[in-house]
Symmetry: C2
């Protein structure tokens, strides 16, 4: 199954991204041989490496999309900081960069002090969790250029993170050292991250109507609260491996496009495949939503992380030590499969065999 | 006249910025003595310096606010890139950093390929003008979280720029070397930059009604086109001085808050004043708007750049050489005044004496 065959309306998005990349590429020459020289292509918009003498800086930008509506509906603002940080630093660390600093921009319609306070408290908490400093920011009042749900402050929130190539590395981790026989370790996600919320909201709206967020998810939790579950930030997990000197050959941060887009981009570097027959199962909330929305499993794996937030490729000989280090760092990890010859990512779940190709 | 006395509704904005800064400050410790250590306070949200070994990186984030509505009204999209680049790199260069790379995030309601193409072409043109590389970006579809004028693609656009401390400098340019007797050189702006557009739009709406942008400004230009005039990017001007080894003691990028906020922040470092009796006069479009909106001159100088986009403080002995270098770099510059004892910025214009304090 390819993206093109899946019937998703992503062609225009890809065309626009390609356009933006093409214009960007025509500015690379401006820094050639100078400070800020681009040392890694940015095809796909992932973490890039910039060279400043011997210092190798990674940079990644992203926002948290429409997950913000969950906060507006639930009036809970102090968790989104984890989502924002995860989106940017986990892209960085997937390239072997230790995230060091972030800036952030909050676009609002009208300011509300307490909402800003909640957002920034959460970003502070997340940054302290991940050892990152907030070294800049901007709050912009944009009036009716910003919309949202309900009568609270509406906002959009994005961030740029920078980091330094991990001292144990000679070059970014980009998949080029992956070999057949390598193992694939999966880090379990905590739930939805900041992707796939347009589909989630559509399903909830169709199922429960406008006030879907106040419907009970279980005895203690509303659907709104459940779907707001903050992202687990994975950068400390990866750093625990790099700090121990383990060889890591490839890392995929599972965001929009799911395992298909994100893992295949890594495997493509050397043209190998992977057989994933022991992934973490989808969280119950994902299974419920899939059922409510009658979403094909293949499509669910394209939109959502389905329980697996990051995939790590490393030599089989390092697998046990890696699992032990990840456990010590309080992450749930398991060997999810291995690298094989071929061109496909085979995902085997209890209910269905998925074969994702590129 | 202080900001507090001016009657502007900026208190809530300041409180929110202060809140965000306080949360940020509590994350600085995370990088103390490590890569990404903050070497400059970020009070005020200006360019900060991060240390990576001997490499000193500056970072600045900003957006172009509601000037975007002018592009939506005029359906001209290829000039906003200059505004976006100017907002971030001119903050960086005001700290003595040579801007090297930018990332950018375009939040859209629904994608339109040609609009993205226009925006990115403009950013490309601006980056080539300023010698900067676009090294990352993101386009996010956010549906009704993004509003705007008319039926085209609505969007908000922000950027983070990074740069390296100019090789001629031991520390960032922050005003701490300013001395009484230094001269103040002004760089003429091209028109409005990306600040003060809420006031501009209010005046236009009140004067001409909903379709104000199609009203004639002069025989050849509509008001919409006139107000869309792109920002002049000043970083090449400043770099021309630094590259020649000139000592520059302080630089103010005149954005929101005008000369009052932005120049006084620089003068405050050593507690001196400035007498500006030879500023560039406000552009005609600013004078017209001021008259149409019955805006007090003091207030106009707080909201708008009034013809002066950047103020540079340097020793009197370097003034002639600086003016010559700036002319060679195709910028319009003049000695606008000098640094004096005291606590006030005195602005003398043809029509009124303004005294701005902090």
């Amino acid at each position: 199954m390819t993206h093109q065959q899946s019937g998703l309306d992503i062609d225009l998005g890809n065309q626009c991204s390609k356009n933006a990349y093409n214009w960007s590429k025509r500015t690379f020459e401006n820094r050639k041989g100078k400070a800020g020289n681009l040392a890694l292509d940015i095809e796909g918009g992932f973490a890039n490496m910039l060279q400043f003498g011997k210092t190798r800086i990674g940079i990644a930008s992203d926002g948290i999309g429409t997950k913000i509506e969950l906060a507006e509906r639930s009036k809970i603002y102090h968790t989104l900081g984890y989502d924002l940080l995860a989106m940017v630093v986990d892209d960085l660390v997937a390239g072997g960069f230790e995230p060091t600093n972030i800036s952030n921009i909050i676009d609002v319609n009208l300011l509300d002090y307490n909402t800003i306070d909640g957002l920034m408290k959460g970003l502070h908490d997340a940054c302290n969790f991940a050892g990152v400093a907030i070294s800049g920011g901007e709050i912009a009042e944009l009036g009716n250029r910003i919309g949202g749900y309900g009568d609270g402050m509406h906002f959009n929130w994005c961030s740029t993170a920078i980091g330094v190539l991990h001292e144990s590395l000679e070059k970014p981790i980009d998949g080029s050292d992956i070999e057949v026989g390598n193992v694939v370790i999966s880090l379990q996600s905590r739930g939805f991250r900041s992707n796939g919320f347009s589909l989630i909201r559509r399903i909830m709206q169709q199922t429960y109507g406008d006030l879907w967020h106040i419907q009970s998810y279980d005895d203690e939790t509303t659907w709104g609260e459940k779907l707001l579950t903050p992202s687990l930030v994975f950068s400390p997990a990866i750093l625990s491996l790099l700090n121990a000197g383990l060889q890591v050959n490839g890392i995929a941060h599972i965001t929009g496009g799911g395992i298909a887009d994100n893992f295949q981009r890594v495997l493509k570097k050397v043209g190998v495949a992977a057989k994933l027959d022991n992934l973490f199962p989808p969280h119950l909330v994902m299974q419920k939503l899939q059922k409510l929305g009658n979403v094909e499993l293949e499509k669910a794996y394209l939109y959502w992380n389905m329980g697996n937030g990051m995939l790590i490729v490393l030599p089989q000989t390092s697998a046990d030590e890696a699992l032990s280090l990840l456990k010590d760092a309080n992450y749930k990890a398991r060997i999810a499969g291995k690298v094989v010859e071929g061109q496909f990512v085979h995902i085997t779940t209890d209910s269905v065999d998925l074969k994702e190709t590129y």
